[in-house]
């Protein structure tokens, strides 16, 4: 564990913490109303740590639904993390399973988005991601336990709190836009997410949009950067891809990996 990287990651998590504390409080309050104890609220935020699923679980509990359907619903809601975990895997080659399991256990939409907003910070730097995610989860647990204990002190709909996380996501989205084709993918993803949400129940729209729009993005790249017809995978094709952005990312990944070996 690298202390400096950990602290850097913890600092990067502060905007997330600002959003998680009040939302966590709202969860704690509602969970108490649905009949969970403060102790159970804390354990759920520690072991499950998935905002949308926790709120839906509370909703289902208060309707008298038993544990198994809630677990199934949770499973489907969180399939979207498959895509985020796949993306992060590019930056953590050569880490032990234990490290990877801790890193991935705390993955959320927000921490993923902050982590990916500056990939040079996370490339083979698990301590940075630990700092970022530990701080975020700490805020979530503190918020939800706080809400369960002293629920009525703060109204979580006041002081612009409902717009904290949306603002964070807007900024994180715009950080990702570096080229005109990124803007196109944003427009396509925006429109298709609205259509998917309208057409399908639950949270499927995020996973479906992720697959569709990143597929279209990939198609743009393949069209713009002619790549070798088949996967020959070495030597000359790499040189040909030299001008393209993904190839540069690859080579920096390889450089990063090499640097770690030396160090």
């Amino acid at each position: 564990m690298d202390d400096h990287q950990f602290k850097e990651g913890a600092k990067a998590a502060l905007p997330i913490a600002l959003g998680y504390l009040p939302v966590g409080m709202a969860f704690g309050i509602l969970a108490r109303k649905a009949g969970l104890t403060t102790f159970e609220v804390g354990w759920m935020s520690l072991l499950v740590y998935a905002g949308a699923s926790q709120f839906i679980a509370i909703e289902m509990i208060s309707k008298g639904i038993l544990w198994f359907p809630i677990v199934m619903a949770t499973f489907f809601i969180n399939l979207r993390h498959l895509l985020m975990s796949s993306t992060l895997s590019l930056y953590f080659k050569k880490n032990r399973f234990r490290t990877l399991s801790l890193l991935s256990a705390q993955l959320t939409d927000e921490s993923f988005a902050v982590a990916i907003s500056n990939t040079s910070k996370i490339l083979n730097r698990p301590s940075y991601l630990f700092g970022l995610q530990m701080t975020s989860q700490l805020a979530w647990i503190a918020g939800s336990v706080g809400g369960a204990l002293f629920g009525k002190l703060i109204d979580h709909k006041e002081y612009g709190i409902p717009f904290a996380l949306p603002s964070l996501f807007i900024c994180l989205l715009l950080i990702q836009i570096k080229k005109v084709r990124h803007l196109w993918v944003m427009v396509i993803a925006g429109i298709s997410s609205i259509l998917f949400k309208w057409a399908f129940p639950g949270n499927w729209y995020i996973l479906l949009t992720g697959l569709l729009a990143s597929g279209i993005g990939m198609a743009f790249e393949i069209k713009l950067i002619p790549s070798p017809s088949t996967a020959s995978g070495s030597g000359e094709p790499l040189a040909r891809r030299g001008e393209g952005e993904p190839a540069r990312r690859t080579s920096s990944l390889e450089r990063g990996g090499g640097g770690k070996n030396k160090g």
Binding site: F39, E40, S101, G160, S193
Partner: protein, 105 residues
Amino acid sequence: MKLDTLYLILGMGIVTFLPRFLPMAFLTRWVIPERVKMGLGYIPISILSAIVFPILFFNEAGKVEIQPYYLLSAFPVFIFAWKVKSLWLSVVLGMLIYWGLGLLL
């Protein structure tokens, strides 16, 4: 803790862990084809768009309904965040505008 709640928390813990862990565990050990990497590169934009835009056009019950407070707050945050790529300032600005709108309207 009631047994039912114990099953609930453990079950939710397991099913949230698996999709977070499995790709990270295995894709880090495999060689990823270049084209798949290109696709993965677009996942952040796609997912963030899918999180941001529906917030503006759906109500809390998940029905289509324009959210005037969110739209009016989002517009300046978009412009600000585009110019000044600061997470902190974007969050504070967004909260202030949303709060202000609530007081004014």
